[in-house]
Symmetry: C2
Subunit: 255 residues, 2 copies
Amino acid sequence: MAKADIFSKVPELNYSEPAIETDFDAFKAVVNSRRSIRVYDATPIPESVMRECLDLALLAPNSSNLQTWEFFWVRSPEKKAELVRLCLSQPAARTAQELVVAVARPDFWKINRERMLEVLTQNGEKGAGYQYYNKVVILAYSLGFLNLMGFFKRLFVYFRGLTQVTPRIPTSSTELETWAQKSTALACQNLMLALRAAGYDSCPMEGMDGVRVRKLLGLPNAAKVCMVISAGKRGKNGVYGPRIRFDNSHFIHEV
Amino acid sequence: MAKADIFSKVPELNYSEPAIETDFDAFKAVVNSRRSIRVYDATPIPESVMRECLDLALLAPNSSNLQTWEFFWVRSPEKKAELVRLCLSQPAARTAQELVVAVARPDFWKINRERMLEVLTQNGEKGAGYQYYNKVVILAYSLGFLNLMGFFKRLFVYFRGLTQVTPRIPTSSTELETWAQKSTALACQNLMLALRAAGYDSCPMEGMDGVRVRKLLGLPNAAKVCMVISAGKRGKNGVYGPRIRFDNSHFIHEV
C-alpha cells in the first residue's frame, strides 16, 4: 500500500464512539478562571486529585500517538527544595503545594512505536495502521548514527519539497525535540486546566535551569524539560493583575 | 533591582481575583470525549462557535505573556481546497467543516514586548514587571544579527551554568522556535477542548507540508506552522478505534 493511501483512505471499521453531552459554560469557566498563580496559600491538594489530574494530562492528543512525554511529581522534601532553587526560588515555586516537571521525551518514539505494534498485533490489525508504525514511523523519526539519516532526510525533504507536497519530518535532534515538546505542551495544558477544574490553581514556569532539573531527576541528555508546573490554591497577591491579552485581531485571522 | 529579585520578591498588590466555582465532572467529560476525528459529517459549525473557541485558545498561558502565536481560520474555498491538499488530502482534512492553522511566531516577542510596555505604562507600573519587559526580555530572546548574540549567550549560559542556577534561555533560532511552539501548543489544546465542550470535534494534524502552508498564508520564514486543526462533528468511522494509551506508570513518576 502506497504511503499516501495510509493517510487518504478511510478504513472500514466496526467501531463507533458517539460524542457525549458536554457543558460549554462549565468549560469556559475553567478556561476563564485559570490564571498563572504566583503565590499559593497553605491548602494541600489531595493525592487523589493530583493523580487524577496527571492521568487527564495523558489524554491529550499527541503526534502519531507516540506519547513522547513524562511527568515527574516531585514529592520528596529534599528534591522539592532543590527544584524550588532550580526555579530561581520564584514565589510560584517556593509557595507551591505541589511541583510537577513536564519532560519532553523525543527518544520515546522508539519504545512507544514497539508498544503500538504490540497493541495493534493483539487487536489483529495488519493493515495501514500496522504498516504506519512498522515502516513510516521509522522513516519519519529516525535520525541515525551521528544524525546521518537526518542529514539525508533533510536533503530528500528539501528536494522532494521543491516539486511535491512533502511533510517536513524531523531531520535533526532539535527538530525532533520541537516535535516532542509540542505534544508535551498539549498534555501540560490538560494538566493545568484539570487542576483548575478540580478547584486548584497552577503556574507554568520556564524560568528555571532545565539542565540541572534534568540531572536532579536522573534523566538522560535526550530528555528535555518542557516546563515546571506548580500547583495549589491561589493565595493573597497570587494573581499579579488583570489578564493582559492584546487585541485578538493581532492573532486570529479569517482568510 | 537585581534580576533575581524580579523573580523572587512578591510585589505589593492591590488586586485580587478569587477562584470561581468549577465543575470537575463536566471538565472530565470534555477531556474524555475528545478523540482525534478522522471523518466528519456534514453538520456545519456556527461562525459564533468558531470565533468563541478561537478566543478561548488565546487565554492559554504562554511564555512571559509574549503571545507568540497566530491562528488562521481558512475559510475561502480556494485556500481551503489547497490546504486540504497540503495536508496530504487525509480524510481528517478533506471531510472537515473548518480548518485552522496554528502558527508559532517566535518573532512576535519584539512587538508584544512593546505592547506589554505600553500596557504597563498605562497602568502606571514602573517596578519589577516593567523592568522585566524593558530589559530582561531583550536579553532572554534576542539572537542578534547572524545569531551573534545567540552565540555569545550560548557561551555565557554554558559557563555560568557550570557553577550557578541558570535559566537556559534560547540561544539559536531553533531554540527560539521550540520556545514559541510550546506556547502555541498550549493554545491549541485550549482550542481543541473548547470545540469538544461546544459539542464539536477536532483533529490535530502534523502530517502536512508546513513550508507550503506557510507560503499559502503569505507568512514570512520566521513563522513556523505548529499544526493544522480540523473541526466538525464526528461522522461514521470518524474514530478509528478505542483510545490507546500505554500504562501510566511509563509516564507518571512520583519522586
